[in-house]
């Protein structure tokens, strides 16, 4: 099962848990399943069906261009990180 690492400021929603094993074949499914466990977490991560503007998702150490559609495997690590901009 993929492991989702919960950003520090979201841990109030997960009762302080920093890493949660949750099912899902894509990032979207993982978030949907997290929502079942911790109602309200989806709204913190998503707005209007998209990841919030300043949030990116990294799967297995890499920020993915696919966002919510990125596939995750059973051993995957999923992190929500600040969006990176460049000059």
């Amino acid at each position: 099962v993929p492991t989702v690492y919960i950003p520090t400021l979201l841990r109030a929603v997960t009762g302080g848990k920093s890493a949660i094993e949750v099912d899902g074949a894509t990032v979207r499914q993982v978030i949907d399943n997290l929502e079942q466990l911790y109602p309200g977490i989806r709204e913190r991560l998503m707005d209007q069906g998209k990841l919030r503007p300043n949030i990116s998702v990294a799967v297995d150490g890499e920020v993915t261009p696919m966002g919510l559609l990125e596939a995750v495997g059973p051993q995957s690590e999923v992190h929500f990180v600040a969006a990176i901009k460049g000059g």
């Binding site: 400021l9 913190r44 890499e62 929500f80 969006a83 990176i84 000059g87």
Partner: protein, 749 residues
């Protein structure tokens, strides 16, 4: 492909645009001319914070030669939504409000109204006739100022967000980031030495030499044609369409050559205004900013307040690190504190970390990206503290860094583990460099080192390649050429096709003529657009194999291609020979490549710098400067070196002289290049470069972006060198003579 197999990658061909650039034939936005062209001028706010009570443009509109006047009220007032500014979404009201102020001005230089006239002089004169009744408000100019209780509030509806949660309190703090890893208290308890310091860095500008410019024609058929200087033509297209509330297909943007950007030419300022003035007049309208406009009206990089605390054992292992970063966003949210918070300890493997970052709006121009945005400020703080700890432990500063260096598998405080990175290799290259062991050769001299990390980005890119009958190819791409990217992209196609780089003609085209391509920024262009060119070239090879097979009446699967020669059984034909036979084998061959790549490889960089500090004046002279950077695989080593030297020069300016020197009411007092002191060739020694190559496994040729990481270490390396020369630890940027003398006097007292 393995490195030794490359015939083009890693060589140094002459850049394709070189002749046009050095002979002055290259066309920049200000060169653009059209029949019936009108000239625009932007009226800007004289106040840093004020409510606009009344705005009367009637006298200006009646001035002879004036053809149109506009304000924010002329923009379509469409409902709030998010708009992609090139590297992320922002509310439309912020993007539009920064182009022309609506109701309130938030910084000195904020655009208030625009005029189109027969000449720029007429437009400027008429601007004096625009009557604006301002209710001047108190201003907040630094992050600590804007965060204090009772500070003037810039946006009445802005409430602090904490990872998607909007708190209830109206504030100048737009966003709070926090990263926690391990047990910070236990980490500091384990430390045998702890150093905690506070730092302040000034607002600085990217300092591109070419001012912003835009010409727009709202054509009779309803299409909006734009010619401008930008790092991202598609961003200009999309933002202009959004602000003017037209479909993106109605806007065509042609990027002209660009005289520098460094992140500052990603935001859109002039294009929607020029377009709307064109609609009002029926004529093309051109607007060119003055240097003062550029300083006061475009996005510099954030000033910041940073506190860093690091603890280590006597054996040199860092046990804990804590950082507080408050970055000035300028007038609208979006300071680069998120990346800054992710980079602040990114060079180190530390088990116990707490990082807090605050995005704070202040009454200064809305900030924009600047090479590795957010990372230079953060590294200045961290690398100064790291140097102090190494000194107190009696350790060589590079050995101390090596002992704690991040490597593949190291988990950063923001969560993800590193893939293959070159932090250790960069530090080892610094240690091995003759500069590091060379004698300093005189009094008041010191040597400093520092390292830095930048993520780089991917983002979408598109290319097409068409084969010409003489065996050359035309490569069409959408990345504005900064730093020789035409050539670094063309080289990747040439390598695949087995032809010389000179036989690829790269052209940067308008937004109608190539698939979507994101900005030339984030050190992505050689990586991502180069990858699109690689894919397009692979497509060409596939089709050319089919043509050879047709010629030889065989199966395409039996045809191979190596170094530009196609073979099957005992037959062979060169790329050039086959290109001459396209008509008879099926017609033109056009290849396409479109990517939104994964595999972005971050880059580490490091500096060794020697300085001499005049103890009587505080003037710092850079005696020797060595820049080391991991390029993954250097596609064109000269351009990698050029990026390293350019980033170093800008980092030196940021370190020693550059700052928005503001008076108490928010007016920049040095808004000219005479007074905003960027380093010139006379201020700098030759910047020696060492390219480290730790191939990025995520890219076909192993490339990592190289445009940004080089600006990160210079201020910290110079601060450390100043300490070793003059005995004072500098805690603010710029470290100009007054700042250094103040530190020296303070120490003497």
């Amino acid at each position: 492909m393995k490195t030794q197999e490359y015939s083009v990658i890693g060589t140094r061909p002459i850049r394709h645009d070189g002749a046009d650039k050095v002979t002055g034939r290259a066309l920049y936005g200000a060169d653009f001319q059209m029949a019936g062209l009108l000239h625009g001028f932007i009226l800007r706010s004289p106040h840093a914070h004020a409510r606009i009570r009344r705005l009367d443009t009637s006298k200006a509109a009646a001035f002879p030669g004036v053809k149109a006047v506009m304000t924010a009220d002329d923009f379509p007032q469409v409902p709030e939504r998010l708009v992609d500014l090139g590297e992320g979404d922002t509310p439309l009201s912020y993007a539009r409000g920064n182009v022309l102020a609506q109701g309130k001005v938030l910084y000195r230089g904020h655009a208030v109204a625009a005029i189109a006239a027969t000449s720029v002089h007429v437009a400027e004169e008429a601007a004096d006739l625009i009557e604006v009744d301002y209710e001047v408000l108190p201003c907040a100019l630094t992050a600590p100022d804007a965060m204090r209780e009772g500070a003037p509030i810039l946006h009445d509806d802005l409430k602090t967000k904490e990872f998607g949660e909007q708190t209830s309190r109206v504030s100048n703090v737009a966003e709070h980031f926090r990263h926690v890893m391990g047990d910070i208290d236990a980490g500091f308890a384990e430390a045998e030495i702890t150093v905690e310091r506070e730092f302040n860095t000034a607002t600085v500008h990217q300092g591109y030499i070419e001012p912003h410019n835009a010409t727009a024609l709202w054509n009779n058929d309803g299409r909006i044609l734009v010619w401008c200087s930008t790092q991202g033509a598609f961003v200009v297209r999309d933002v202009t369409a959004c602000i003017l509330d037209v479909p993106v297909s109605r806007v065509k943007v042609t990027p002209m050559e660009i005289g520098g950007g460094f992140g500052g030419k990603i935001p859109v300022y002039l294009e929607p205004v020029a377009a709307l003035l064109s609609k009002k007049t029926g004529k093309p309208v051109k607007i060119v900013m003055s240097r003062k406009d550029v300083f006061e009206g475009t996005g510099p990089t954030p000033g910041s307040y940073i506190k860093v605390k690091i603890g280590a054992r006597k054996d040199g292992r860092i046990t804990a690190a804590q950082a507080f970063l408050a970055y000035e966003a300028g007038a609208y949210p979006g300071a680069m504190v998120g990346p800054g918070a992710m980079c602040v300890f990114a060079a180190y493997d530390i088990a116990n970390v707490v990082i807090d970052g605050f995005d704070v709006v202040v009454n200064k121009p809305s900030t924009a990206a600047y090479r590795a945005p957010g990372a230079t400020n953060a590294a200045f703080a961290t690398e100064t503290v790291v140097d102090e700890i190494a000194e107190k432990l009696g350790m060589d500063p590079l050995d101390f860094r090596l002992k704690n260096a991040a490597k593949e598998g190291t988990r950063r405080a923001d969560g993800p583990k590193y893939r293959r990175i070159g932090c250790v290799e960069v530090i080892e290259a610094m240690k091995k460099h003759p500069h590091y062991a060379a004698p300093l050769g005189g009094p008041n001299r010191g040597r400093g080192v520092a390292v830095g990390f930048w993520f780089n980005v991917g983002l979408p890119s598109s290319c097409t390649i068409s084969v010409t009958a003489d065996g050359t190819v035309n490569l069409v791409e959408g990345s504005t050429d900064i730093g020789g990217t035409r050539t670094s992209i063309a080289m990747q196609a040439a390598e695949v096709l087995g032809i010389p780089a000179e036989d690829v003609r790269p052209t940067v085209v308008d937004t109608d003529s190539v698939g979507f391509t994101a900005v030339t920024g984030g050190s992505r262009t050689t990586f991502a657009t180069g990858w699109a060119a690689y894919e397009a070239a692979q497509d060409i090879v596939r089709q050319m194999k089919e043509r050879a097979a047709k010629l030889w009446e065989t199966d395409a699967a039996s045809v191979t291609m190596e170094r530009g020669v196609f073979r099957a059984a005992d037959k062979s034909i060169t790329f050039q020979e086959l290109a001459a036979k396209l008509d008879q084998t099926g017609g033109p061959v056009v290849g396409r490549g479109a990517v939104n790549p994964r595999g972005v490889g971050g880059s580490f960089s490091g500096n060794i710098v020697d300085v001499e500090v005049d103890p009587d004046t505080g003037k710092v002279t850079i005696l020797r400067f060595t820049a080391v950077q991991d390029a993954g695989k250097a596609i064109h080593p000269s351009y990698v070196e050029g990026q390293m030297q350019g980033g170093s020069a800008q980092g030196i300016g940021w370190a020693l002289n550059e700052e928005y020197w503001m008076n108490g009411s928010g007016t920049m007092m040095n808004s000219s290049l005479l007074d905003y002191r960027m380093p010139t060739a006379l201020d700098l020694p030759m910047i020696d470069t060492v390219i480290v190559e730790v191939p990025n496994p995520g890219h076909p040729f192993g490339a990592r972006g190289v445009g940004e990481a080089n600006i990160i270490p210079p201020p910290a390396a110079i601060a450390n060198a100043i300490y070793h020369a003059a005995g004072v630890r500098m805690d603010r940027l710029p470290m100009n003579p007054p700042a250094i003398m103040e530190a020296i006097w303070k120490q003497r007292d």
